[in-house]
């Protein structure tokens, strides 16, 4: 009896962790790519939020796949705005990112009110159905926990593997890393630093859009104002914890998913811990991650420093 409870509980916990991890995973993978090119984009929170709204609107109009596409496009547009100011005009990346996120909060608030009315869209958006992966879903506990998720979760894992290959085995990845480490050297090698960064930031924004979209289309099924609640910033911590490596990011994102899922677990166990503790937990974990990880790894050398100096 106890054993079965344990199995159900563990599988449920893993499933909840994976669900909570999915938006973080996509956003963090995107931000990892952006940071590898030497750009820190605090606007991912805004890109995610906008992606969530676009995902909700698109999902309402044409189902979850259209929603996801809309979310991706919206995230790309938001990061394009960031890029124009921070990469093309080379303004301070951190302040630009903050401003972009602020603007996204305002704009999504306006648009959501316009589209859904003051009551919001309600809990009736079409969502991705769980997709049991062939064979894998039969594995006890893990099958139910990890391999019967909405498609965006396994897709994110595949993207993480693909990104590992792209970053370390292809010319494009080499160029990207060089731009993030030593823009002057990349430039001397004939690489366009701004173009590389624009692309990396654009892809990062699109991934953040998917992250926000999956929050709506795979998890909660509705949109509320400021619903991302700082997940974009947590994604930045995940990038650090994952040591700027796609597979590290995959693991770190899941760890954060587990932290959020913990509150359901504790509720199920009936422990009388105030729920606010669990609201704090991911943020505190992120903080601890930053402290623990930064000491042992190194960020891309040119991260946040703007582009190459004008003189050759």
């Amino acid at each position: 009896m106890l054993e079965t409870d344990g199995v159900i509980l563990t599988a449920g916990f893993l499933a909840a962790s994976a669900r909570a991890a999915t938006p973080l995973l996509w956003t963090a993978l995107g931000e990892m790519l952006t940071e590898r090119s030497g750009v820190i984009n605090l606007g991912v929170e805004g890109a995610m939020l906008t992606g969530a709204l676009a995902g909700a609107i698109g999902g309402m109009a044409g189902g979850p796949w259209l929603g996801l596409a809309a979310a991706m496009a919206a995230g790309g547009v938001v990061s394009l705005l960031f890029s124009l100011v921070a990469i093309v005009a080379r303004a301070d990346q951190i302040i630009t990112g903050t401003a972009v996120t602020l603007g996204a909060i305002g704009v999504t608030g306006l648009v959501a009110r316009r589209v859904f009315g003051p009551e919001g869209p309600g809990l009736d958006l079409p969502r991705f159905a769980p997709l049991p992966l062939p064979f894998l879903h039969r594995i006890p506990i893990l099958g139910e926990g990890l391999f019967s998720q909405a498609i965006v979760f396994p897709l994110g894992a595949v993207v993480a593997v693909l990104l590992t290959w792209a970053l370390f085995r292809t010319r494009w990845g080499l160029t990207l890393r060089a731009v993030g480490e030593e823009p002057a050297a990349a430039r001397a090698a004939g690489v366009s630093v701004p173009a590389t960064r624009l692309l990396a930031t654009g892809l990062g924004g699109m991934a953040a859009g998917i992250g926000g979209g999956s929050l709506v289309l795979a998890n909660v099924g509705t949109f509320t104002e400021e619903m991302t609640a700082g997940r974009g910033f947590i994604a930045i911590a995940i990038v650090v914890l994952g040591r700027w490596h796609p597979l590290g990011v995959l693991l770190a994102a899941f760890l954060f998913g587990m932290a959020s899922a913990m509150q359901f677990l504790f509720q199920a166990l009936g422990l009388g811990v105030p729920y606010q503790i669990f609201l704090m937990l991911p943020y505190l974990l992120a903080l601890a991650a930053l402290a623990g990880a930064v000491g042992r790894t190194r960020a891309p050398a040119a991260l946040g420093k703007g582009s190459v100096k004008e003189e050759v």
């Binding site: 605090l42 100011v85 005009a89 080379r90 303004a91 301070d92 951190i94 302040i95 630009t96 903050t98 401003a99 972009v100 602020l102 603007g103 996204a104 909060i105 305002g106 704009v107 608030g109 306006l110 648009v111 009110r113 316009r114 104002e225 609640a229 700082g230 910033f233 947590i234 930045i236 911590a237 105030p274 606010q276 503790i277 609201l279 704090m280 943020y283 505190l284 992120a286 903080l287 930053l290 402290a291 930064v294 000491g295 004008e310």
Partner: protein, 345 residues
């Protein structure tokens, strides 16, 4: 050309652009932009009451938080966690205010404000330590702690500091002796004078004292400050961050003692973030912050009226803030590259 005049014109154009974009957004969202902006103006300046009871009280936390941000900003550190420190200060202030019933105001008010400042400073101690010890970007750590502070407020108003009936998620009203006095017939409280004093004192500090000068030097040229100025740049930005946190905490205390008199779950409508725009628009100059704080206070006051009268969500003012920040950044880039061209560097 007169530099100050040029800056004023630039600031004016920046604001015009910000409002323009918001108006555009409002009309695109299907509202009447004219009606919304009109409601905004009436809500902010339409009457003596609107000015003294809506605009000025809202500008107080913005001025103080903006000054706190600027203090760290000019020393080269970014404290994005003003919101969290504000809330930490508010919690401490409420706690002191609730138990200060037997104390006379001359004791109660300073201890409330002191506790708020200490709490704000404590809230930034961890980011400062993480920065010094592990090189963690303070931007991210202070930001994360905002969410922790919001959860903490939510906990205390449903736990230890909840009103005695245990129904509403808010605290009891603080003791009368711990409240800041009001200008009769208005909601303008003594905190406004403190904001004025902070801005004036801050301006003097930055331009006339060696300490303020050194903070600026650390921000503008950290290597030169270390090697030529023999300053410990890391320690100075750490001190600036701690002071910045204390000032943000003070703002939270003043808000409790002067405006709400009790702790609520949604005490701050994003004051901490708006304050960044306030400080940036003024380029970190304390007197400028006074002006931009008043302006954004008016915005916040007007946003409420806009929502009531024109049905435009109050979050729309974030669009103005975002546009203002971006425009200031871009304008600074332009002037900087022009300067570089002139000197041929």
């Amino acid at each position: 050309m007169n530099l100050r005049g040029a800056l004023l014109i630039q600031t004016f154009l920046t604001l015009l652009l910000g409002f323009g974009v918001m108006a555009l957004g409002i009309s695109l969202a299907g509202h009447d932009a004219g009606l919304a902006l009109g409601a905004m103006f009436r809500g902010a300046f339409g009457s003596w009451f609107a000015l003294t009871s809506a605009t000025l009280p809202r500008s107080v936390p913005l001025i103080i938080l903006g000054f706190g941000f600027a203090l760290a900003f000019r020393a080269g550190a970014l404290n994005i966690g003003g919101e969290g420190q504000f809330l930490a200060g508010a919690i401490a202030a409420t706690w002191v205010g609730l138990s200060a019933g037997s104390l006379p105001p001359v004791v109660a008010i300073p201890s409330l404000l002191g506790a708020a400042s200490v709490a704000g400073m404590l809230w930034i101690v961890v980011p400062v330590w993480l920065r010094a010890r592990f090189g963690v970007l303070e931007v991210i750590s202070t930001l994360l702690l905002n969410f922790v502070a919001a959860a903490l407020v939510s906990y205390v108003v449903q736990g230890p500091l909840q009103e005695p009936l245990g129904i509403y998620p808010q605290s009891d009203l603080i003791a009368t002796s711990a409240r800041l006095s009001l200008l009769p017939g208005t909601r303008l409280h003594g905190g406004f004078l403190m904001a004025l004093a902070l801005a004036g004192g801050g301006a003097w500090f930055f331009s006339r004292t060696i300490w303020g000068f050194r903070l600026r030097a650390v921000g503008d040229g950290p290597r030169a400050a270390r090697i030529t100025g023999r300053l410990n740049a890391d320690r100075m930005s750490a001190v600036a961050l701690l002071l910045s946190g204390a000032i943000a905490g003070l703002a939270g205390g003043i808000e409790i003692a002067g405006v709400t008199r009790a702790l609520y779950q949604n005490l701050s409508p994003g004051y901490g973030f708006t304050a960044i725009a306030v400080a940036l628009l003024a380029r970190g100059h304390p007197i400028g912050i006074l002006g931009s704080g008043l302006l954004f206070g008016a915005l916040a006051a007007g946003a409420g009226a806009m929502q009531r009268e024109a049905g435009v969500p109050a979050v729309a003012v974030h669009v103005v803030e975002a546009v203002v920040i971006v425009t200031v950044l871009l304008a600074d880039r332009v002037t900087r590259s022009r300067r570089a061209e002139v000197s041929g560097a």
